[in-house]
Subunit: 335 residues, 4 copies
């Protein structure tokens, strides 16, 4: 029998023996299903680090209450990512911990109406204190009061907040501020930070800060246009994924067709069969020109709280070829 | 044997015989699993229509390309809902069809890089024409140019757009404009409408319209505070669900604790075990005070393109007790 | 612009107006995502009924406790299916109801350890009485005692059981017995029926009936070989799906390559990305030769308790072209 | 503020630094969502190893093609499990590799009708050669011919097969044979092994071996009754999970209520909301008495190809307190 071209690379069953997390992920690349995909996700991230590429990470879900905040700071600090697009919740929860608030181990089988009476907010199997949250709300309001009465892009706003927080405990925003990593949150109204701004404005206690999210659209497209190429990392889907995906469309309409993101990886638990952007495949994104025809790409269907710890530990010691340095003084530029 | 209290209501197996969709859904309430839940979703919606309650619908996903736009207009026109919070994509796609653009039956097994060469954008098994989309992009830009150079809440902006579109084919925004149903889109930057505004601004071709999403936070909370009680309907999760959920938190901080939404139904395919807000249970929401302790509530795990057609047909002929009439001239009021 | 070939069939948004379930499903074929798939599932089933084809249905899950038993009997009675392959649980639960036992509406949020103390078994949101179940167990044991001390294929065993049950209330097995529809259950050991046989044997209270499941393999392959063509319907996945799928492999090794099933539809909530047979695509099955290259096929990701009621009501009044008549006196034949 | 009792154990965000896989899983126990659950799964398995407990593992899916076979052999060899209940597919695929056959890295985006023409069978992103498979089919047939013309329980049959295979390359069955770990496969008819037996019988080329699966029911219940306590591990759901779960029911009817399994862990991607046993919670199982009220239990929603490599590496070096030694000469006993 002539072995057809399809039968060239045998699956290599994993042997159980002492090894590093990085080595296990490499071995998983020679298995099947989502184990292989997770191995590929780690491998493609490493490829990005060795290329001249701007790495944009989209963060959704409620990852900070689940204990992922130090991993995210680590990725920023080591410039394993260059741009962060996040939901407001993750940034609020992270700020909350840097201000001394906590999240607590709870149970997903809790009596929720009783929790309510005790002022406990539940996020699946994580608890938080409503009273502690209100204290962080007030911090956000007071912070807003220090700003000028003009529109800020979410990036400007969060950069100022990161600067302020750098005097508090370490957190995503302060780490990003120090590392020169811009953080965008175009859905900031949909979070406790947005609530804080709304309460400040309505009560007249703080200035009527406006978040100019259209400027976010422009700046992220400018970043893409200023980059030699781009790599994207999605932890979950939602607004952050779509917002980074659409930079290719926007820059194309701006007259600079970048040919799609060159690298693309995602950890998600969403299923493409329901038509949502969160779970859609990178192949689908190729039809839109959002992902390059030749992109290295992999999606692993895996809870982020499993996949992110594994993959981040596999990056330990990796050297970044060249991290972009941004200048936002007159539009977004790489200097 | 004494039958324990747990064994009071037998499952009633469905008989196959001619019946209406509404009748089938009623029968499904006496079965199990997600069939029962879907029956409950329809039943609770009917309960809302008979109560003095402001009904807020959160719409995520890409439901318009999948043929759900006339159903949404029907719900608005008949005031089976009072407030719509949507992703930008659904509003853009809907506007696109009202301008003469189309979505097309495709296949989820398409050669995507070939589609790209033909200018076809794929959304799972639906196709769209990139060229047709660009035409709608330009419409959005031209529309923006008719606005004043000041911040608009997304509601104001979409109300103006609905007014303009009411001269075109029928669509969600024009129907909402005529029916007095406010439409909010706090993540509008994350859509082709946002791209249109960004391109208009950067090119200098249209005015630098700003979308004041913090005002959206205030207005939605004011709507809740002006209502006797509220009912919420979530088609998918994402930003629209969270944004409506947080109105209870915001109004509470504003000093009016409304005690949580009184009715809550959702169609979703997200799983609570991954900690995201999209798939979280209404029980979890009770711990936050977002859903009333005594709320009627049901989540059906079901694709919206299956559940929504069924449930909407079950509403045919239902009378609304009293639909709120809004006045936004000086904050949001119900008159 | 020349419209590319990809843009020929526009999505036709559904209008809400009075219509039959069958009509709604037809309209859903012109929408997208799983709504379209469910429409296709109904349509392909109708196509089967008009062709010369043996229709095999694989039934997994616990569908009878959820109120699906009369639908299944309806499908058998009207010969909308010709062969049933089931898990043992569905047959046991159905027998249980025909003997006067019941399933009850419960809640998925029940205190399970308390339920245990009250003798209540929970199946998601359905309750059953352990005591009632034990009574049905004893019936199975007594029935086994009426059999001869020899190996039975599961089909023979279940045919005898159907004959016996036809003196009780109507049920799947008695309906199948009367309609000449063979029922296979190759995993019968894995159910309360299997437990009943085991208890009978170990206690010496009934005969040591053996279930010859290898004979099931032979008979199902013979049915396929005796058929002009085959259509398959999977409600869930599991053993019943795989067992029907493998008939194409077995008959091919027997020397009669039938070219794969000609029609194939499935309702499932399993995701192909995890590599399991339950959720695998019919395209994957084509690589194995289990599904014909030209097969009409559709999988809808939808809970069976939603999809089955809808699709079965869409079949009302359909005429079957020709239902096969089986003879098992000397191997499986169609006469 | 008095901290309520609910707020005692803060989430401990993971720091990225060199550590063992075992250490990472321990840290994940102090995070949230499925990451925490996976940590708990590893921890509970370790607890089992230190207790006087018979450990039964249920294996479904197609784990061997995905490179999990050596891990399974490792678990058997080190007596980290005592009893294996498997689908036939996993055992066939494993035998196939021990006979020199292979599985190959493929793509889930393959042209399946072309694969068919090349004799390639696809399992998601894994390929196999139909010709190689047929060779293993023949081995199964020839092996069947060496048996006696009498009923075998699947355990007896697989023990004989393991003995024969121990002269070939190492595999699950030969490792189990040497380690004294019984392997049950009550759905063996539903696999290539079953097809092999069917073809052998129909062709008259091998003896008419019968698999007495009712004997499997009795033996597994006897094992449970002979054990001080039991722990269960489910990789996926399906028949293997249910078959092990029902041992508690069977032994109770046999007159020995064991009080439910004492430890229970599962890796699965099935969702309880659809009512299936595969995805049902261990709380639900408590209502049936299958899981002890005081059991240590955890389910992680995670692909097995991710979770199993991680958890198995965390077990390296663990000592087993006491592995049971089985005697099947006259019913199942522990000696």
């Amino acid at each position: 029998m002539t072995i057809p071209k399809f039968l060239e690379n045998p699956i290599d069953p994993i042997r159980v023996e002492e090894k590093s997390i990085s080595k296990l992920l490499q071995e998983m690349e020679n298995t099947g299903y989502q184990g292989r995909k997770l191995g590929e996700v780690a491998s493609i991230w490493k490829d990005m680090l060795g290329d001249d590429v701007t790495i944009m990470l989209g963060l959704s879900g409620a990852m900070v209450p689940a204990g992922m905040r130090r991993i995210l700071s680590y990725l920023i600090e080591n410039r394993y990512i260059d741009v962060l697009v996040s939901t407001g919740a993750n940034l609020f929860h992270d700020m909350h911990e840097s201000l001394g608030g906590k999240h607590y181990k709870g149970s997903h089988l809790s009596p929720d109406t009783e929790l309510y009476k005790h002022g406990i907010d539940r996020i699946y199997d994580v608890f938080a204190s409503e009273e502690e949250f209100r204290s962080s709300d007030r911090f956000a309001m007071d912070f807003a009061n220090t700003l000028e009465d003009r529109p800020y892009s979410s990036r400007e706003f969060l950069s100022e907040l990161g600067k302020t927080l750098s005097k508090k405990g370490p957190c995503i925003l302060s780490t990003a501020y120090k590392a020169g990593v811009p953080v965008f949150c175009p859905g900031i109204a949909d979070s406790s930070i947005g609530i804080g701004l709304a309460v400040g404005r309505k009560s007249g206690k703080s200035k009527a800060v406006q978040i100019d999210t259209i400027k976010d659209v422009i700046e992220t497209a400018e970043i893409v246009m200023a980059s030699k190429s781009t790599g994207v990392i999605y932890l979950g889907g939602g607004l952050p994924k779509n917002f980074i995906q659409q930079t290719e469309v926007t820059s194309s309409i701006f007259g600079h067709d970048m040919g799609g993101h060159k690298y693309a990886i995602q950890l998600t638990t969403d299923n493409p069969v329901f038509g949502g952007l969160s779970g859609c495949t990178f192949e689908e994104a190729q039809s839109w020109g959002k992902i390059s025809e030749k992109a290295k790409k992999a999606i692993a269907f895996c809870d982020i709280t499993i996949g992110l710890p594994m993959v981040s530990h596999a990056l330990i010691g990796m050297k970044r070829k060249k991290a972009p340095k941004f200048d936002f003084s007159n539009g977004a530029k790489i200097i």
